[in-house]
């Protein structure tokens, strides 16, 4: 599903070039549930951005579902984000002036799906998240857990193969966090590849495998970790 080959990302700070990601190679198979962990400043956010096609690597190759997306232009990357990836963020990132329903419709608008189709799919997704009575609520009228459920509904409406969650429980209490993680587990069991970036071990528990990033490099070998867990 995801194959990174010698991915490097460097930023220019003044005249100096600083490597945020240093020669990362990584394979995530279809249907996996992977947690990416690491201290702040380790480069896990940058790795997440590259996997999410929000950022381009300085060098190296990135294959997403067989497509080499490393040299895609902005427009092609936008299409990949729209069609192949569902995003869930720590701050939910719902548009405050749109109802839950309209927020969920948003990715389908950019996919060019007809209005009636959008509405039925958005309804299905919200119902699946247990929000059938919250469809016409604005984000402000929803609790944190409900907001994140709306965000998850939004991430799945275009039926992507991959869901990328960046600290999805960072703004939620423990009980709600666990419920949200259950939601991800369910989606994973339906065959969706889930990648969660987190610094909470409890959250990482839900994954089949944990990738540890430190100083721009992957520390624990994926295979070893998987062996530990099973």
């Amino acid at each position: 599903m995801i194959r990174l080959e010698s991915i490097t990302k460097s930023f220019l700070v003044g005249k100096e070039s600083i490597d945020i990601l240093n020669n990362i190679s990584l394979i995530i198979e279809e249907g996996e549930f992977v947690a990416i962990m690491g201290p702040s400043g380790s480069g896990k956010s940058t790795l997440m951005n590259i996997i999410g096609c929000l950022d381009k690597p300085t060098s190296g190759q990135y294959f997403l579902g067989g497509e080499d997306v490393s040299n895609y232009n902005d427009k092609e990357l936008a299409r990949v984000r729209n069609q192949s990836i569902g995003f869930v963020f720590q701050q939910f990132h719902l548009l405050p002036r749109l109802t839950a329903m309209k927020n969920v419709e948003l990715p389908m608008i950019y996919a060019g799906i007809s209005k009636s189709e959008r509405q039925s799919r958005a309804e299905d997704a919200l119902r699946k998240m247990g929000l059938e009575d919250r469809m016409d609520h604005l984000p402000n009228a929803l609790s944190g857990g409900q907001k994140q459920r709306v965000a998850i509904a939004r991430s799945i409406v275009n039926r992507p193969k991959l869901i990328l969650a960046d600290e999805p429980t960072g703004a939620l209490d423990t009980k709600t966090s666990m419920a949200i993680m259950e939601q991800f587990r369910e989606l994973n069991q339906e065959g969706v590849t889930v990648v969660v970036v987190t610094h909470e071990p409890e959250v990482a528990e839900y994954a089949n495998r944990t990738i540890l990033v430190r100083d721009g490099m992957i520390q624990v070998s994926a295979a070893a970790e998987r062996g530990q867990r099973t």
Binding site: N49, G52, L54, D55, D74, K75, A78, R79, R81, N82, Q83, F87, F89, H93, L94, L95, R97, L98, L106, P107, I109, Y110, A111, G112, R154, N158
Partner: protein
Amino acid sequence: MSFMENMLMALSSLKAHKLRSILTMLGIIIGVGAVIIVVAIGQGGEAMLKSQITGPGNTIEMFYQPSDEEIRANPNIFQQAPFKQEDIRALEQLPEVKQVVASSTTLSAVRYQQDTADVSSTGINQAYLKLNQLKVEKGRNLSTADFLGGRRVALISNKLQEELFKGKNPIGKIITLANQPIEVIGVLEKPTGLLAFGSMEVYLPFQTWKIIYGSSDFTQVTIQADSAEQLQTAGKKAAKLLNRMHNTEKSYQVINMEEIAQGVGQVTQIMTLIIGSIAGISLFVGGIGVMNIMLVSVTERTREIGIRMALGATRGQVLTQFLIESMTLTLIGGILGIFLGWGTSEIVSFFAGWPSLVSWQVVLGGVLFSMVIGVVFGILPANKASKLDPIESLRYE
């Protein structure tokens, strides 16, 4: 993403900041309104001037411009009235001519008891009365019997009543014109309008005038056609007929109104253009206001832009979204401006007695132009929005 969807999205964004949107629109409303007012009043004025040249009821005046030979042959030619009674009868036979309005004016002294005054004394035919709609304020108007019988009756102007009768009722009084007694039967209404001023006038049936002054010729002839389209033909035919009857080449002429109307049109158009472009400056300032607010809006909505991009909006779609938003803003402003301009020019024309014309071309032009302003002044903010980095934008607080 369809245009309608963009439009609805733009409307909901504008609705989220109602006061701000209205204030921004105000610049466009005033700008478009000002242009509409100027153009409406300009075009109305042009139409009014043109109609005044053409004269009421599709009329055209004939005039006599003797050639050099005629002047040499008869040095007093300018003292003579150029139109004979048979000319009038011949003109009346032309198929295009509805009626011929003929009158003869001479300066004359008028006396009432001990007072005298100089007046312009005009003998008129019945057609003149109908066409010029001489309105009688006191007494009665000239009747068919007065015209046919050549009765010694006259209408006097309001000014003459003041001068000669000094507030006394003139109806039924006898005045003396060229030593002949005439009965006053009516006083005309005061002329109204911006440029109207009263003058000392007496109107008599032409038959009466002929006897008093001993002349059966007319100084002024105006022909009336059935329609405005026939007017030029009627005028040309009439001139040709009179030239033939008088054995002259082209001494009898009609005014070519088309040329004059064109000249007047050009003048008013230039005036409208000058004032209109001054009004256009306010539209330009309004456009800058739109640009300003859109830039603020883009900055405020950085996170929204980041979210949209993460969900798959291309840079082009973000650009389009903001362009349509600024265009919606100016379009609504433009439409409101058209109503403002329309209403104001109606009010202005009501009080100034000056017609105003809001043509569909102006309305359409106003709508299109305000959309263009939205696009032109929206480009910079929309471009800024589309160039945002999605990662940075998502982090924006």
